[in-house]
């Protein structure tokens, strides 16, 4: 990318621009970034730093000193550890499922003719237009004891007693996969669409069968899209609240639910803040890994 600025006609042909203009450039850049930086500072950085501070306070409000006790309490409590484990397991399972289920759709989407592409695209983003509450409610209607699946199975005489499909973990997985699948498909499709078709044709000409062509050529070329989709899906699952509450029927405690409980119901902000910081650091580790991956990928 060129180093020129929007006001490049101001710069004369001189090889070294006068210092005055450099100053104006920096000033202009600052003005462009100022509103965004202000929003991020007021709405993200400052609140998070405050939360970090609260998680280290011995009391809230009116602290008398700083302590790591709340972190110790969370990380040594078997109940909390189970919840942390379940949260990250849920995120892992949902990420894996969306990647496996979404990849063929993204592939097909990116390679379709423009008319069909338009239709598939609409089919994928249309669910995003429907309130998350309603989509989750839809699943409870489908899966509940009096729900559609049980009604059909009973009507067919397959079962007498309703199956308990709203049993917790897997119904939450289903709901999360349903909500996040479009994000994965769009992320992967963005990268797959840019793959040079001649690579795949070359593989075919050189005698690769479809499976080999997929594993050795298509997959490595799409890996960046899968990675960015996975980061989005993983992070959104880790912080999700509505779906675990509504589809888990109170039986699937994840970190988001526990943090909410700790802060709003028990009004224990420091412990809740410590749990929140642990959740955040988990997310940051994933993001850092993604950053490393991108850098390595770019170098290759």
């Amino acid at each position: 990318m060129s180093t020129a600025v929007s006001g490049s006609t101001d710069v004369p042909f001189a090889s070294a621009p006068p210092r005055r203009i450099v100053h104006r450039r920096t000033f202009g850049l600052g003005l462009l970034l100022a509103p965004g930086l202000l929003i991020l500072t007021a709405g993200l950085l400052w609140p998070c730093l405050t939360m970090l501070q609260v998680s280290l306070q011995d009391r809230f409000p009116d602290p008398t000193g700083y302590t790591l006790d709340h972190y110790r309490a969370v990380l040594t409590d078997a109940y909390y550890l189970r919840i942390i484990g379940r949260t990250f397991l849920l995120a892992g399972v949902v990420t894996l499922l969306t990647a496996v289920l979404g990849f063929p759709v993204a592939w097909y989407l990116a390679r379709s003719s423009s008319r069909r592409k338009h239709l598939i695209f609409l089919g994928i983003i249309a669910p995003l237009l429907v309130s998350i509450i309603v989509r989750t409610l839809g699943w409870t209607i489908i899966l509940g004891n009096e729900g559609l699946v049980n009604a059909i199975l009973r009507g067919l005489g397959v079962i007498d007693e309703p199956l308990k499909l709203m049993q917790g973990f897997w119904s939450v997985v289903l709901g999360m996969v349903h909500i996040l699948l479009p994000f994965m498909i769009l992320s992967v499709a963005a990268v797959v669409g840019k793959i040079d078709r001649s690579c795949l044709e070359a593989a075919t000409v050189l005698g690769a069968d479809p499976l080999r062509r997929f594993l050795k050529v298509a997959l490595p070329l799409s890996v960046q899209g899968i990675a960015s989709g996975s980061v989005i899906v993983f992070c959104l699952t880790v912080g999700a609240f509505v779906t675990p509450v509504m589809l888990g029927r109170g039986q699937v405690s994840v970190l988001a639910v526990t943090i909410h409980e700790q802060m709003v119901v028990l009004v224990d902000w420091p412990t809740g803040a410590a749990a929140a910081m642990i959740l955040t650091s988990g997310t940051l580790v994933v993001l850092a890994a993604y950053g490393l991956f991108l850098r390595r990928h770019a170098r290759r």
């Binding site: 097909y108 989005i232 910081m277």
Partner: protein
């Protein structure tokens, strides 16, 4: 891959693998549409409970929306927050996008990543953190507190589409404007902005939807009298499970479709994402 992409197609029929893939894609789209396909018919149900298929047809649940002023005021608040937040995000996002695309400066990539953080930041943490700092400021349970939170959440969506669109615009147009005597503002207003418009509209549509449907962050910031529609719907579902919520969603769906249709007519929204 479509059959006509092969170097020399030996057959004119679609390969079996291709047909299988198409069937699979159709299945996935059905899966994505399933809850909606259930919810919309339920809105017209005459039953008091949420059973599918409905046993009779009525419009009583639509009437019930009107009978409950809390849904209408929640709708008004959600719409106002979404519009204000998207507006602010658009100004901040476009300015930042110009900085990111047209300038190089140290730490640019890191800063861009920071701007994108709200996209993946755990909503529950952001919610609690915002509640923590807004309480002493009196912003809790206020319109502007909600609006600020939604600006943070929508900014990445606007910025992403603005950066993508801006990188596609050839700089020479702008330089031509300068050569013809336009100043920076005139060049932006009459050359860059019109070319940005389709991408911006797409980003704004997404931002509006994200804001309108936002749940977790708002949960910590709302209170009696200041309630967004998703929260009001959730509260309702905690105590009453009748088709009222299905009716609300059907109304929202109709409104969204209308809005999308209008925008699609104006700029071709699908092209912005599908291309």
């Amino acid at each position: 891959m479509a059959a006509h992409d092969l170097p020399a197609p030996p057959l004119r029929t679609v390969p079996r693998g291709e047909r299988l893939l198409a069937a699979y894609v159709a299945l996935v789209i059905l899966f994505l549409a399933l809850p909606v396909l259930i919810v919309v018919p339920l809105a017209f149900s005459s039953d008091v409970s949420l059973t599918f298929p409905p046993r009779g047809v009525s419009l009583r649940w639509f009437a019930n929306i009107w009978a409950r002023p809390e849904f209408l005021s929640a709708f008004a608040l959600s719409a106002a927050v979404a519009l204000v937040a998207t507006g602010i995000s658009m100004v901040a996002g476009v300015l930042a996008a110009i900085a990111f695309v047209r300038h190089t400066f140290p730490g640019r990539d890191a800063l861009l990543m920071l701007f994108m953080t709200p996209l993946v930041f755990p909503a529950i943490v952001l919610a609690a953190a915002l509640a923590l700092v807004m309480t002493p400021l009196g912003l809790l349970r206020s319109f502007w507190g909600l609006a600020l939170a939604h600006v943070v959440l929508t900014l990445p969506y606007i910025l992403r589409t603005a950066v993508a669109t801006l990188s596609e615009i050839d700089r020479s147009y702008q330089e031509a404007a300068h050569t013809l005597g336009a100043d920076r503002w005139q060049a932006f207003r009459h050359v860059t902005l019109p070319m940005l418009r389709p991408g911006l509209l797409a980003g704004a549509t997404f931002a509006l939807i994200i804001s309108f449907d936002e749940f977790t962050v708002s949960m910590f910031l709302v209170g009696p009298g200041v309630m967004t529609l998703p929260l009001e719907m959730y509260n309702y579902s905690e105590f009453t499970l009748d088709p009222t919520l299905a009716a609300i969603s059907t109304v929202l769906l109709a409104l969204t479709c209308l809005a999308i249709l209008i925008i699609e007519r104006l700029v071709g929204l699908g092209k912005q994402f599908g291309g």
